[in-house]
């Protein structure tokens, strides 16, 4: 198994789509599609996420890896497949910001890990609160790049919780990486240091909510 993970990770980091697809196909001869996702794709993406945090892998590799995995998982585990993860209603959004790359990476990695979630694009506070309540979202992932946007998460958390929504909110993005107390200051339930950590967080919450 570890051999597959290492080979798959190497294929992703060098943008070797064909090699990555071949490893997935080999793994499928021994595992179900969801096992391939859980035991090969997700661990490889987790390792790449951790390597980005320590400066050993670059954002461009994280982004392209997520995209390749999203495409591969789409083939082996289409959105309609009953093996797709049964998860709380989830959504991802960029708050009050126009920097979409972080959200795109997390969205790809969530989907590559077998999750389905709403992509809200970019929203301001009022729009987001209204939409999250209307959609009965249980897990909300908020991405920002700018400090003023990060501080606006506080309003989102306060208003959703005041409305009695049983919602968990995770945040991510540069301001939270540069100030490790900021996520608590804005009232989030957790922060993801990288995209793979967002996946782990949602998996943990999914188990708690089951």
């Amino acid at each position: 198994m570890n051999g597959w993970i290492a080979a798959f990770r190497e294929a992703l980091e060098t943008l070797d789509r064909i090699g990555a697809e071949s490893i997935v196909n080999q793994a499928r001869s021994e595992m179900t599609p969801i096992q391939v996702v859980d035991q090969v794709v997700v661990p490889a993406l987790e390792q790449i996420g951790q390597a980005w945090e320590t400066g050993d892998v670059a954002l461009s590799q994280v982004y392209m890896s997520g995209r390749i995995c999203e495409e591969l998982v789409e083939q082996v585990l289409p959105p309609s497949d009953p093996d797709r993860k049964h998860q709380p209603r989830s959504a991802i959004v960029v708050l009050c910001d126009y920097h979409m790359l972080g959200k795109r990476i997390v969205y790809s990695q969530m989907r590559a890990s077998g999750f389905e979630l709403f992509d809200y694009g970019r929203m301001d506070v009022d729009e987001l609160v209204e939409r999250a309540l209307a959609d009965q979202i249980r897990v909300l992932l908020i991405s920002v790049l700018m400090l003023p946007s990060a501080l606006k998460v506080k309003q989102v958390c306060a208003r959703l919780k005041a409305a009695g929504a049983p919602i968990r909110i995770a945040v991510g993005g540069a301001p939270f990486l540069f100030d490790d107390r900021l996520w608590q200051e804005v009232g989030a339930d957790a922060m993801g240091h990288n995209a793979a950590e967002a996946v782990s967080l949602v998996e943990g919450w999914m188990r708690e909510m089951a």
Binding site: G55, M64, Y98, H99, M100, L147, P148, P175, F178, R181
Partner: protein, 353 residues
């Protein structure tokens, strides 16, 4: 040692010598709007406002430079893009303006055809008129390699770099022309040096091997055509593995990240390039004056000796939300701990600080 003015202090440290004290480069933009009592949008609508704001900030914080920077997307306005103004942060770039196929016919816009760029040039002229050669005036150009993040969106740009080398090269040709013209216009208007913002070259964003083929090659084509000194700024991104490569581009300064150790960066720079940084601008918002002092001491202790170091934030722009008392505490700490020969450092290290 006789007191130096800001220009002498800066040039001495860039020559890898110790000046009278560590130069303080507080790169503030939106704070100027607060000083003159205007909204961000109104402030940046007239050169006179920014001249007045920068001069008031210089007097208040007694930093060693003036900053002619408005906001990053002012360059994209010249290419046909727009800027979105908020109330509590820097203006942001609007929607991307070019797609893959438009790159094939892309031409660099004229500098004098862009009202925003003309305002920046007027600002630099006004500042130069007021301070002459006593204080360095910093102009800004986004690197040709990093500008496409705003021109076409970050995700599509990464895909272009990896998947369409021909179009990538075409885009770089247009952007290099623009960057050279824009930088030289600022130098002619009174800028002392150009801060060449290049976050995409950071190893946070692309691996070193790709940097050498792309951002590095672009800088080597662009920087020699800029008729003045440049400071390459990675805008919070990591740069330790490529600091020697950046020095090879001929730049004088590298703006470095709070995520990396200044002592390691200083050793890697090896007197080939000076360092600017690396106070954490995001955390700075909630620092106490005592924390500000401790951070200033830490930075100076790690990188101050021997010159080649300018104290500043790690992003190239201090968030407007950072309060005055923190910036003034930084200022006071530099006065107290930044005076050469920095002979307090040995004791500080012995204390295990």
């Amino acid at each position: 040692m006789m007191a130096m003015n800001s220009m002498q202090r800066t040039l001495t440290t860039l020559g890898q010598q110790e000046p009278d004290r560590v130069p303080l480069f507080l790169l503030t933009t939106g704070h100027g709007a607060k000083e003159v009592g205007l909204s961000i949008e109104a402030y940046f609508s007239r050169a006179e406002n920014v001249i007045e704001g920068q001069l008031r900030l210089l007097k208040k914080y007694r930093a060693d430079c003036l900053y002619g920077f408005y906001y990053a997307s002012i360059e994209v306005e010249a290419w046909g893009g727009n800027t979105l103004f908020g109330t509590d942060g820097p203006p942001q770039c609007g929607a991307p303006i070019i797609n893959d196929t438009q790159i094939d016919t892309l031409e660099a816009p004229a500098i004098d055809g862009a009202p925003g760029l003309r305002r920046v040039l007027d600002t630099l002229r006004g500042l130069k008129q007021r301070v002459g050669d006593s204080v360095p005036i910093i102009g800004v150009a986004i690197s040709p390699f990093s500008l496409p993040v705003m021109q076409m969106g970050f995700d599509r740009y990464i895909e272009l770099i990896y998947e369409q080398p021909g179009r990538f090269e075409r885009l770089m040709q247009a952007n290099i022309e623009f960057c050279v013209n824009w930088s030289n216009a600022q130098l002619a208007a009174g800028a002392t040096a150009i801060c060449y913002f290049d976050p995409v070259s950071s190893t946070t964003t692309i691996p070193r091997a790709l940097y050498l083929e792309t951002g590095h090659a672009v800088a080597r084509r662009c920087l020699p055509r800029i008729k003045g000194a440049t400071a390459t700024h990675l805008a919070s991104g990591r740069g330790l593995p490529i600091i020697g490569d950046i020095a090879d581009t001929g730049t004088a300064i590298v703006g470095v990240s709070a995520l990396e150790d200044l002592a390691q960066l200083k050793a890697a720079a090896n007197k080939r390039v000076s360092l600017l940084g690396n106070l954490n601008g995001i955390e700075m918002r909630r620092w106490t004056p005592a924390q500000a002092e401790a951070e200033v001491k830490r930075a100076i202790a790690k990188a101050g000796r021997g010159g080649g170091f300018l104290l500043g934030d790690n992003h190239g722009e201090i968030p407007q939300l950072v309060p005055d008392e923190v910036l003034l505490a930084i200022r006071d700490a530099v006065d107290r701990w930044g005076r050469y020969p920095l002979d307090w450092i040995a004791d500080w290290q012995d204390e295990g600080a």
